[in-house]
Each structure stands twice: as structure tokens, then as C-alpha cells.
Amino acid sequence: MYYKMQLADKVRVPPHRLGEDLTRVILDVLQEHLEGSIDKEIGIFIAITKVQKIGEGEIVPGDGAVYYDVDFEAVVLRLALQEVLEGLVVETTSFGAFVSLGPIDAMLHVSQISDEYINYDEKNARLICQESKRFIGVGEPVRVRVVTLSLNEREPRDSKIGLTMRQSGLGTARWLEEDMLKEKEKEKERGGERGGR
């Protein structure tokens, strides 16, 4: 889920930027530093939106920079285990599909797509279920659940997020629609029986 957060931090303002507007410089430094980075407790920083309060500056021996205590507002994405999300398939491989969740990509392994056996159709870049012939292709919207989370603070790109679609209510938009239609038909049949009695 995305959160709008109030955070506090110490910001280093380099001396060559001291003449400029302080709020602007601090926002720049924060954006440069934090955006795209990952903190295990806070989440993935998407954007620093506002600098709210700038406290007193401090000069540390040995450094010409000024350190300010700053309160700021940030938008973060904090994923939780078991969280249900919607994403877009960006790539398919023989071992699964990569799903873009927006700021970060996640992995949907073949074993987590369906209870059926899955074949990989390399030419069309699709993963096909053997029995029902349902498939996943690039660009399709999917609804998935987060099942493994391994965030790497040092190398955000090495973070691994595992997804599953092997539960009712999860799947590509098309599967969900098909399931919904089937469900409705069943209901109609049941309703008809009752009416006939």
C-alpha cells in the first residue's frame, strides 16, 4: 500500500549551495538521497513531496557543510506479506512472469500461476495453462498476492518480491471476468431450479 508519511531526518547542506533558498536545497538533497531507496521499516521511497519544518543548523568539526534537522513529507510504498495488489505483466520467461507494481517489479513464478501444468510459448511470450488453455501474456493486468518479501536496502534493484495467483479471486483480468461469468451462470441455473419447483 502507498503511504503519505511525516518523517524527520538530518540533512547535510553542502557549502556551495548555502546561498540558495534553503527549503529548495533541502528538498533537492532529500530527493537525491532518498527517492528510489529502500528502508526495511519505512518502505520504498517514491517521492519527497514537501519540507515542513527546518530546525537549527549545526556545523560539525571537519566538514564545511551545515546539518539541519528537517521534518518532511514523503510518499512511500510499503509492501506487506499477503497484500493483494494489481500490476501489469512486463515480461514472461520459462520460469514465470515479471509483474510491474509501479515503482518496482515482482516475480510471479510458474508454480504460483495455477494448479495446472504451465507451458511456455516462447514465440508469443505467453505462459499457457495445459488443460484450460488460459494464458498470461505481456501487458496484461493481473491481481496477485505478495507471498515473499526480500528487500535489499543497499541495492534496491536486488530486492526480490514473490507473488502468487493460486488462490480464488486472483489471476489476470480476463480470468477473473471468466470466473465471474461462470459464477453468474451457475447462480442462474440454481435460481431456475428453485423457480421450477
Binding site: 548555502l18 546561498g19 566538514d63
Partner: protein, 56 residues
């Protein structure tokens, strides 16, 4: 109220300011001097350095 600093505080302020200047901070006075330390000294004499001392 004009603050009076001890010689240690003066040294710290001028030293910090000189380092800032040497690292590219904008000057607060017009001067023909080149050495950051001399510029910092001049700024201190003119009382324009925006640095105060926090006494515990």
C-alpha cells in the same frame, strides 16, 4: 546584543567559515583577498558571519 566570544570560539567560528568558503560557499563581503582563511577573518571582523556558539 553583541556576543563576546572566547578565543577558542573565535577560532572555531573563523575556522568553520574558512572551510565553508574553501568548499565554495558564497561570500558575504566584497574583498580582494583570495585565501579563504583571510576572507573568513575579514568577515568575522565585519561581524557578518551567520554562525553562533551553542554554550552548554
Amino acid at each position: 546584543m553583541k556576543e563576546t566570544y572566547t578565543r577558542y570560539e573565535r577560532a572555531r567560528i573563523i575556522g568553520a567559515r574558512a572551510l565553508q568558503i574553501s568548499m565554495g560557499a558564497p561570500l558575504l563581503i566584497r574583498t580582494s583577498k583570495i585565501d579563504p582563511l583571510e576572507i573568513a577573518l575579514e568577515e568575522f571582523q565585519q561581524n557578518v558571519i551567520p554562525i553562533t556558539v551553542k554554550r552548554k
